[in-house]
Symmetry: C2
Subunit: 506 residues, 2 copies
């Protein structure tokens, strides 16, 4: 990835006054309520949607398709960096320069926005408008979304902090609400209103009043403001956050390239607080104030399996789902079937999610409690809270097909041009069989190609590397034999994805 400041074309693009908008994508979160499809290592933004794509991919596509969108900043955990790049590559929209601010651990949205604002001020400009977008929300009407952003930009240019509100269609008690002033900010049909106050998750009776009032909107968690405006607001309302992230930013500012890893030691002391609490609620009472633009688009935070179920059409009995299903005397049930058939008999109002290593059966009224399953699995030390059976890696992915004492079988898929690290195992040998594509194998001092329907053998204690020199994906079956076949029996000598301790690199 070319460092932006060094590449003239990128720099020109970044500074293009015709494309000054900086989308800031906040990607993270556990998504425990969408287990077993989401896992700690593969949270909600990466969840494959029943109608295609992922929330993260759609957010990126939506953002970079906006008129005026230039450089895009993604603030995410470093664990998700490669997967995020893969998602962006597969998503639609006009490519834009990408910058990644990689957190060592989550510190809530205030810190993420502050870092992105510092980056924007330094690399794009003080007056550049930022559009902050959580990556775990779904908006399908992209045209209406673009209209809302267009309405927000002039307000942001005046120094206001702009939020996006959604007219509630039900008295939802799980969301925050924005109460706006009755009069619009401008005459005519312009959709901006000044925010009177923010209200946290209300009681049901209150939420019912809000739905009726016409002056209360759901807080969508999206924001638009200039770098200057939000940094000023941080300085005024949340100086601890701004001072907390400044050393981390100063360390980053010296570096080039689009992938900026935030130092854990410098990040540790940053307050763990949301941008709403830290800034927005306080700024609503001060000049230049907080505005809200009412979005006319659909919006969902995909907060539970109910929201996923709502994405697909129901049959005449209210059943929905995907995959191979049989429904006998079954109503209003969502079935997600992956690699096996799922049959429902005489049931109703259930959500059934079947994945390669975990199955969930939950009542529709209890979907908020799915997260308790994740807690229980974590307490038991069961891997299914964290990993899928197929694990994404920078170079591709692997799937454990079977593990038993003495052996483990993996399917390994390597992207074209990618390579695993140069590595060695102390306690296992490996048999590799190429079933599709061509492998370039390094084994000891030899380097050779292994084609489809060919195999090779990697003895233990032998340095080896697997690469895909071709233009098609490489699919390989690996049979590991040894008295211990855990993932941690690996010594990495060289890795193009930076997964080697520094001393070993030499």
């Amino acid at each position: 990835m070319p460092p932006y400041s060094a590449a003239a074309s990128h720099a020109a693009f970044l500074w293009n006054p015709m494309r000054p908008l900086v989308p800031v994508i906040l990607s993270g979160g556990a998504g425990t309520r969408l287990w077993p499809l989401s896992r700690e290592a593969s949270p909600k933004p990466f969840l494959p949607l029943p109608d295609g794509g992922t929330l993260l991919g759609r957010t990126a596509s939506r953002a970079r398709s906006l008129p005026g969108a230039g450089a895009m900043v993604t603030v995410t955990n470093r664990e998700y960096y490669f997967a995020t790049k893969d998602v962006y590559a597969a998503a639609g929209g006009t490519p834009v320069p990408e910058t990644y601010l990689l957190e060592p651990f989550g510190r809530n949205t205030a810190a993420a926005v502050a870092l992105a604002a510092l980056w924007t001020r330094e690399r794009v400009g003080d007056d550049a408008p930022m559009l902050v977008l959580p990556a775990d929300h779904l908006i399908r009407d992209e045209a209406a979304f673009a209209r809302a952003v267009a309405a927000a930009l002039p307000l942001a240019a005046e120094g206001m902090l702009v939020t996006f509100g959604i007219a509630p269609d039900r008295p939802e008690t799980g969301y925050g609400y924005i109460e706006c002033e009755a009069q619009p900010l401008r005459a005519g049909d312009a959709p901006g209103h000044r925010v009177a106050r923010f209200v946290e998750k209300p009681q049901l009776a209150v939420a019912q009043q809000y739905v009726a009032s016409g002056r209360h909107l759901w807080n969508s968690g999206m924001f638009c403001f200039t770098a200057r405006a939000i940094l000023d607001a941080f300085a005024q309302h949340a100086p601890a956050v701004l001072e907390g992230v400044r050393p981390a930013w100063q360390a980053l500012a010296k570096r080039e390239g689009g992938m900026l890893e935030i130092d854990a030691a410098l990040f540790e002391s940053v307050p763990d607080i949301s941008i709403d609490y830290a800034v927005m609620e306080k700024a609503a009472g001060c000049a230049p104030g907080v505005a809200v633009v009412r979005g006319s688009f659909d919006w969902s935070d995909i907060g539970s399996w109910q929201a996923i179920s709502d994405l697909v059409a129901a049959d005449e009995r209210g059943n929905r789902g995907q995959g191979e299903r049989v429904a006998i005397d079954t109503r209003n049930t969502y079935i997600h079937a992956e690699d096996r058939v799922v049959a429902a008999v005489g049931v109703h109002d259930l959500v059934i999610v079947d994945t390669p290593d975990a199955t969930l059966v939950a009542h529709r009224d209890q979907l908020q409690r799915v997260k308790e399953v994740v807690g229980e699995l974590k307490a038991r030390g069961h891997d299914a809270y964290k990993l899928h059976r197929t694990v994404a890696r920078p170079w591709g992915a692997y799937t454990v097909l079977q593990e038993a004492p003495g052996f483990k079988i993996k399917r390994i898929e390597v992207k074209p041009g990618a390579a695993l690290s140069l590595q060695m195992h102390h306690r296992r040998s490996e048999h590799w069989i190429v079933v599709s594509g061509t492998a370039e194998v390094t084994c000891g001092e030899s380097v050779y190609n292994v084609g489809e329907n060919e195999s090779t053998y990697i003895p233990k204690h032998t340095k080896h590397r697997l690469a895909n020199p071709g233009t098609a994906p490489l699919v390989m079956i690996e049979v590991q034999c040894g008295d211990y076949v855990g993932e941690d029996d690996i010594v990495r000598f060289d890795d193009r994805y930076g997964r080697v301790p520094e001393p070993a690199k030499a």
Copy 2:
């Protein structure tokens, strides 16, 4: 397997007057109501029970543990022959000589009993008592069962056809009932009564009267009679059955050995009728008549998942099951988890059965409808109605770990001393990696051993054979590569399990 009539010791044992009782095990049935744990190729008698063993294994163990039990006859489908032998070998009880009458297809119980009776008359004796036992019923109190058999034997010796009745504890409408005469056959406590009549599955109101009457018992489907008595009854009440099976028996009678395959052409015309309809109901009105012995043992036909669920203890919320489970706010639910975790949230009164290739979620009140799932899968041509992902073979078993265009991965387990057929494939090559034990590999003209953590390659169009020369199980991973990897691309040249067309054997 030594042919019984040729082996003096076996012959002596068969004719041992101290062990004249011939258990006749009827094994077959689809078990569609226990899908997905039972399949067409692995029906109810083979279903692994949550408290250990199988119905078939327990039936054999119960039968051959009876005082006086000599040669045991099993009437089953030829498809189940090797699996049945494996089950018997693993089951308890004193080993007895085993004879298998292998049907090419099912013809209900009358034909099976008639064949077993002809075998018994010829090989054991006209007066030998037969004890007919369906292999898909569960009885746990073996001592009480043995007492009931002991009570039946003197009645059978008098020429009566003896049934075994179970005192109903609920107005079950799914069973047949036996109405017995009020007076016992003998004075005192002897448990035999004359049968007044048989009643097919009654309406609920009638069943309720039966439970109250004290004179109605469930028909357990087990019988005891001499070969002479049942053959006489066939001649009198169902001559078409007797004449139908006679040619098939005459063909078998010339053969030696314990494995007698019934000719399909000769079997085809045999009436498809149950022993109850064909003989018992009619014989009840004639001399010497039909008796019923009231069993004091527990009895279940394991007719649905409810019966399986009843076999294991419930926790304080009424939940039962096996395997890795998480239950949040869940009541009265049975969860069978095999190789993945199953989580239930906010549900009650469900049966959840998770197997490697199919998952069932059914309401307890609708368990009889599970068979409709099997019908639907069969109509779709989906394999999960028929096969498990792990498929038993005479030489061991294989499990398909993954199948994709161009390749298939199998785990193959070969029993000590066993061998696959000498075979060839036209469209696939095979990579074999031994992960446990030792393989003796025939590949073309070469024969060589492949040890643990070693591999070999079988090119397409090459005759090959896999054998386990050792005393421990051989576990091998096979990666098939080719443009077609279906099971039917196989040419067998020689097979010790008789799976070769006759001309090819030469």
